[in-house]
């Protein structure tokens, strides 16, 4: 399958919370500060950096402190696929009253439109990516979109991808 078809299936691009019209959609300035340069470029496969990986005995729990957030977006015609640890601090958010202290998905898109987003965990021992669509801002809402997300992870080179959307329902 071509990247063009996957992009089409993952889309259309959405503004933050554009797929969740029933919630507050205003993104504060500190959540639009661009952290994408600090994020891991996952477009060419590879073990995410920094090396915050789950062990084999953690795959049923997927601990929050080893979680990355991921985002696929388009910019000037190119596809970007970024991952950053969920617990990355947002210094500007910490400075102000009402500021979110850690980065969120719009800190990867600079508050602009994106195709898809969610959370993921990497197990280095089994070379497996555990992925979900948990992004209120950009997450999939149709089966076609979610299927395309899983195919996209495989397309860029992650050979073993596990859908972990409802992992907490098993615990």
């Amino acid at each position: 399958m071509s990247i063009e078809i996957l992009i089409e299936q993952m889309g259309p691009e959405t503004k933050p919370f554009g797929r969740k019209p029933e919630v507050n959609q205003i993104v504060p300035d500190e959540e639009k500060i661009d952290f994408s340069e600090q994020a891991f470029n996952a477009i060419k496969d590879g073990s995410p950096e920094p090396k915050i990986y789950i062990q084999l005995d953690e795959v049923e729990k997927l601990p929050k402190d080893k979680m990355f957030i991921w985002l696929v977006y388009l910019k000037t015609g190119d596809v970007y696929f970024k991952m950053i640890p969920d617990n990355t601090e947002n210094p500007e958010g910490k400075k102000i009253v009402g500021g979110r202290r850690n980065v969120c998905h719009t800190n990867l898109s600079a508050g602009e439109k994106a195709l898809q987003g969610g959370e993921c965990w990497w197990c280095e021992d089994s070379k497996t990516m555990y992925v979900n669509r948990k992004s209120g801002r950009y997450g999939a809402i149709t089966k076609a979109q979610w299927d395309a997300v899983l195919k996209f992870f495989e397309f860029v080179g992650y050979e073993k991808v596990v859908d972990s959307n409802f992992i907490e329902w098993n615990n």
Partner: protein, 296 residues
Amino acid sequence: MISQELTKHKNKKMATVNFGIIDDGYPVTGKTKLEFDEIQQLTSVDEWDIETSLRDLNMQLILKSIHWKKRIHLNAFYNPEFFFTAEKRKWDFLAFDWEYKMQQSGKSSEVYLLEILETTRAKVFVFSGWETEDHISSMISDSVFDRYKKANRLELLRKSEDRSVVKMLEKVTFLFEKGEEVVFENVPLIIKPSKHIVDSEDFWVLKSLIGADNILSVLKEMNSNTVDEGTIQFMFEKSRYNFFIDNHKSILSASNNQLINEKFGELKALSMIDALNIFGIEKLEETKEKGYSKIK
């Protein structure tokens, strides 16, 4: 432009209360200072002997602190020497026992008490056994303590009186519940601790769910500058947003969409105020940020 706007509110004050206890009545040996978690563990052991009031004070402070997300910081020191050698902190309250089994410095409790009053800005409760009360009363009647008594910074409380612990807790509660003064979007506000948010540390959750403009417009409508339980409830009552829930009450969702419907069936809308009262503000923020969350 962004950074200029964001740095306007650097001088915020946190709503925390620091309570220190200087007492050798803790059922522990070889410790100079006790942290919150250590004190919490000790409150569940039975070896407090005659120090039941001290245990009760610790227990009540820990319960109150947990209720307020540990914003009441509690430390204990085995004697005044250890208090002075420990890392300095801006103490709001200190409970000071008068008698110690072992003190190497040779200084009297009276001297230590004066040093504490001089070097901190804390309200000091001399919290001691009844048998020493006359002695303590006579000691602190010395004129060197007059200005501290006049400033309401020195109070003698008997360990044997039930009201003593209650009095200390009332003072802590009064200070904590005065709330925190902040500037939010250039508007001065007071955040009072509530079951929804404790202080400015939590305020981002409210901003995320309600939106900054909506928070300020509701406060304006209520002619209030205070974010407390009542105004937060009203913000949620006024909100036009929704959450969604399935018939089995398994999932709370920020949207009614195909992927959730396939797994959990039809969802029904839940108003913001109902969702707040059923699930609490943190669950709602998690749901909004992640798109959905597990209920049970």
